[in-house]
Symmetry: D3
Subunit: 159 residues, 6 copies
């Protein structure tokens, strides 16, 4: 019964995240999308809000559940008995950062593998930070996030 | 009458920026160097100062004009009826960030293409952030920026 | 009257090449797609065949002409009075090779700039070599090349 | 009952390949290591020999089977009803080539995802081609391949 | 009597830094590990603490000395009459940043070369920032830093 | 008395190779430029010719000697008691290949470190293969190789 953890900041969830989660759900029996605290990134949405948005965005895929978690990912992996940590692998500079995290996680826990999935080409360069910048400047972000995320984000950044 | 937009933070303008702007002016009839606000980068110079320095640095090339702009680049592109967005492409990690921005811009506006130009090899690794760090430590930045930029920068960072 | 050269092996022309050529034609008044000999790549199609296929594929864009050329690209650039050399910039490993060629060309000719355009995301990883391998194994290449190119290619590789 | 295909040339199988196959077997119920023909690579070992060596190397992991295959990988994936194509992701230049193949495969078949696993750090730069070069020069390849592979390889290259 | 400078933030020193310093000491007669101020990185340890930890970690290699320095690295290089600046070269995104710094230093000082050494594969993705994040979450960092560094770091981040 | 080996195919020696060799000679007491056989690369010049050209090109630097060698580089390193293997590190795709070789060499020999030096920016993308292609097409290669190398190369490729 292979379970996979899909950790991220999801601030907010984009079509890129959804794409990866759905792909993972075709391989694994159960996928737990884990919304991490990540204070370093200084998120626009609180963890609770990010969980709510991710749940709404992924509600049509029954194998996927969404939880918030504020500790080490490897502990979360153990808690769920997962055998895989899912990461979307976009382009170049990404790879280095992803490998740093994955090797570090492997150093602490060998019972789960980091599994990299490739996003749909149209989302290969999609990035939450850029989406937020565009929203702040009043640009149209309808091509990057679902309607209800867009509305929440506009409510946040336009004040 | 092809017009190109050359957006950047230009904090301050370096020989690398000048090199790209001049190359662009050989291809396009009109090049508008757009000094963007970019609050995320927390610039040393105000937008007005950055515009003044860029204007001084590019004054010998009549096809180039310099303006300040504090909105989405795609809106600026529409305003000037530009068919191209110029970006200097330096080395490795650059490419990923540049592609993110360019695909995001293309998603919002299809009437202009991002056009990447290659800097002169001697400026391939030149970077405003490093120049400011060196100035702060009292190093000689004469090889990286024009004399009048150097003086302004020293006035800013040495206090 | 800015003219651009778009050189390549085009063995055979794919949707990726077409995408770049069309994007270039929106920026430049005239685009000359130059089918190069490139004996090192040991092409499946003769230069004449590659020119014919590229012409057919690009016939709907009046600013684009297709020619064959078997010398140094910089000489071809001079012959056409071009101010730009167009290259599609795909992903990672590409960049290094492209920069080598572009710096080498700049060393020999300074009157034209290499201009990198970004393909549509869906063609970002499309590659003539892979297309030919798939055709050889009887795979469906309809998503990669136009119908008439597909038929010609199948005629070549299935013997 | 998730099945994964692990395709490769395996000419010959190295500790790097074994490492990836074993990691895959911890995630998937069944892993089929597929020895591909790849005439382009001009292998030192025949397909039959490569299958025999891979079988010997992986015989202790019951979930892994080894087969030879000389067609399109996507057809092989369909034949085994696999939901994943395993690839080891090493370093930099690798990523581009791997993404080309993976996007090309996805274009032809959407029922399986390419799944990238990270090799053990000590095998991150291991490469069959280098191993064969070293063997040809009489170097010690005991750190790169199992004993019985080493002996077979020395028998091939030292003549 | 070739002397090399090995500059870094060392916040705190990891097995990766130690690995590079020891490799440098096999090539150069004298290696000076220079703990730089780097206010941009907002270090967890004061410069004095970082020097003490680095000294302890490298005390068994007599050719290595550890000093603190708060100016331009090129000035430090001149002060010690060094002919080389040592940098560990990890993976991908690193290279660009390292080349920026190295070309910038070369622009200011030509009497010393930046020399890149390759870390042991097991430390290729080790990173002080990740180590500090793990420590903050109560993870085990014993595989990344020596015992006494671990204790000091836990004292810092767990409050 | 630190000795360094600088291995390469040198087919033929370019300003890029000379630049790296001279930089190495400022750090190491003795630099041995080792012209390797490399049958895979199918050189234009015989090993004897490549040695003669490299000797001529480097004759003004007394610490540098040039030899031909047709075995494993690690054996050559042992023979000369070298503590370092010099490699010029150019751009992106290079790094992966270089790391593969360096880790492979380290696996076979731990008494010498691979030391990467950065070429002068103007030679960062210079490449013997491109130089030969240009010469074949009658292009001017005077910016890439010394006069006497140019003459020899033209004698080879123009027949």
């Amino acid at each position: 019964m292979p379970t996979a953890i899909y950790p991220g900041t999801f601030d907010p969830i984009t079509y890129g995240h959804i794409d990866i989660a759905v792909r993972a759900s075709k391989i694994f029996t159960k996928v737990v999308a884990v919304v991490a605290t990540n204070p370093a990134k200084n998120p626009v949405f609180s963890m609770e809000e990010r969980v709510v948005l991710a749940r709404e965005a992924l509600k049509d895929v029954p194998q996927i559940t969404v939880v918030g978690y504020s500790g080490l990912i490897v502990n979360c992996v153990k808690e769920y008995g997962a055998s895989a940590i899912i990461r979307g692998l976009r382009a170049m500079s990404d790879v280095d950062y992803e490998f740093q995290m994955a090797y570090t996680n492997r150093n602490m826990l060998t019972s789960a593998e980091t599994v990299f999935l490739m996003p749909s080409a149209e989302y290969a360069y999609l990035n939450s930070t850029l989406v937020k910048q565009i929203a702040r400047h009043g640009g149209d972000i309808g091509g990057f996030v679902p309607e209800f995320v867009k509305n929440k984000l506009l409510g946040k950044v336009v004040c």
